[in-house]
Amino acid sequence: MDIRYKLYPYPVLSSYADDYENSCFDAKISPKRDGHGIRFDFFAKLVNEELNELLEKGKACFVYHLECAQTGYRTVVATGNAETTHFVSDKSVRGRLQICPFIIATEDLPAYVNRGFHSDYRGFKFSIEAGCVMAVGSQVNIDIDNEINDLSNTPSVFSIIKNDDKAAQGMVVDMEYRKIVIKLPEEEFYNFKSIRDEIVIKPVLNSLVVIPALTYVLEEVAKRDTGERYEYSSYSWYRAIKKALATKFNCDIESEQLSEKNILELSQKLIDTPITDALRVLSDGYGNISEEDDE
């Protein structure tokens, strides 16, 4: 479920409409990994006397609507308390979990009035049925990496594959998968494949293949408006880069900070600047080292 800025036939307390005055509702939602799942701590904040009274009398409740589009997981956490917790197993969710906070009526309210109503509604009474929305908070999206429950573990965010398009030249980078897919023409791919497991040559391959691809990807991300970058967050590669930028470079990928960075420099640092070792390997004579190793 996505919260849409829709209109109701009666006043609803929300951040996007002015149906109420001097009132507010929102919830702080804190996820914490807890073994093979995630524990969510919910803290609701409500400023409105009549709605608080309805909650105290059990005529309304806080509801957190949890939905994972990929697995079809859908549940509600309903409580009369401002603070509550809920556990979601890794077995139930994969990718993005959407959480929407609401206050709903738990019984029919045939003559609902509220002193917080906008002046346009003053003097009116509204009939609200049980199950109807009375307040809407801000939606929170949580992207879950549940590799523990995965069928296999694939730590790299890059997938380097053969390009069967005979007309293709050079590498092609595709960002529309869970990993960053780098496609190499057939001959280049088999040459790459024949040496990719040799540890000594890894910095060379990273400089030749991974750095340009990562630079391209970061530039594509940086081109988008900061508010739109979140759309990539269903991809594992995006979440991995976001985390690395935040922890190692104090850089928020969804802010202007990324656009202000030197992307080439940043992508090299993210891969631990392989050019130094790459050039050393080449200047030492990679072929000679291999021959010596063979002896």
Binding site: Q70, K91, G95, G131, K162
Partner: protein
């Protein structure tokens, strides 16, 4: 044998190169896949799977849907929802054990196009819709969303949705189907309305699905008692079929 899945890099290699290799999917067996990679691209999970066939006896493949949902869901109901939404698992099964079934069910030989292959061997749509379009995950998820142990026949709701491919689209591809309580209330109401004499067809099921969606805009359906959803759908079915 154990369930096999397609490695992630191999999955991308096939999907990403589909415009060049799609014609291979009409081959009579899947040996070409091993030849393509130069080795088997499949990896084993820890989950055992008895070798079982799927029904391919009908001239119209959709008529095998109900039987095959039961065969797949009965054997694989131990999968978690998270595992059952993993493209690597279902693509692996479609390309390996159930290659010929996938060809049969979705007429791949005669409709060997990039789109048809992408949708039915792989996940070709968004995350949720892909689950009911991939040839194998579709069978599992129809079972998952309609199997009801509280009934004498746990597959009673399954039998109803498998009467018509449009029912599957109208009912199971909507977000409301994600809550089993809502799905069961909705399907029970339609089945009972039909028993009560209401003519139920794809148009009425489509209308009722829209109505459920409309209700979801007013109520938090997940918070309503099952009987209330049942009652609203049953009443509306009477209204639109007897007016």
């Amino acid at each position: 044998m154990n369930i096999t899945f397609l490695g992630e890099d191999n999955l991308y290699a096939l999907k990403s190169n589909l415009p060049q290799i799609f014609a291979k999917f009409s081959s009579e067996n899947s040996d070409w896949i091993t030849e393509y990679f130069g080795r088997s691209p499949f990896s084993e999970t820890k989950y055992p799977l008895e070798d079982f066939p799927l029904d391919m006896s009908q001239e119209k493949p959709f008529l095998t849907e109900f039987e095959n949902v039961q065969r797949v869901y009965n054997r694989l109901n131990f999968l978690s929802d998270s595992q059952a939404s993993d493209e690597r698992l279902w693509a692996g099964l479609c390309l390996n054990h159930f290659y010929n079934y996938t060809q049969y069910r979705w007429d791949i030989i005669n409709k060997c196009t990039v789109d048809n292959i992408m949708q039915h061997f792989f996940f070709g749509f968004g995350a949720r819709r892909s689950l009911t379009r991939n040839a194998l995950s579709r069978l599992w998820w129809i079972g998952r969303l309609t199997y009801d142990t509280s009934r004498n026949d746990p597959f009673e709701l399954t039998r109803f949705v498998c009467e018509n491919a449009d029912y599957i689209m109208h009912i199971l591809e909507r977000n409301t189907s994600n809550n089993p309580m809502i799905t069961k209330a909705f399907l029970s109401a339609i089945i009972d309305a039909r028993k009560d004499g209401c003519p139920i067809n794809t148009d009425t099921v489509g209308e009722l699905s829209k109505y459920l969606n409309l209700l979801g805009g007013t109520y938090i359906l997940d918070c309503l008692p099952e009987e209330k959803i049942y009652g609203k759908i049953f009443d509306y079915a009477q209204t639109i079929t007897k007016s």
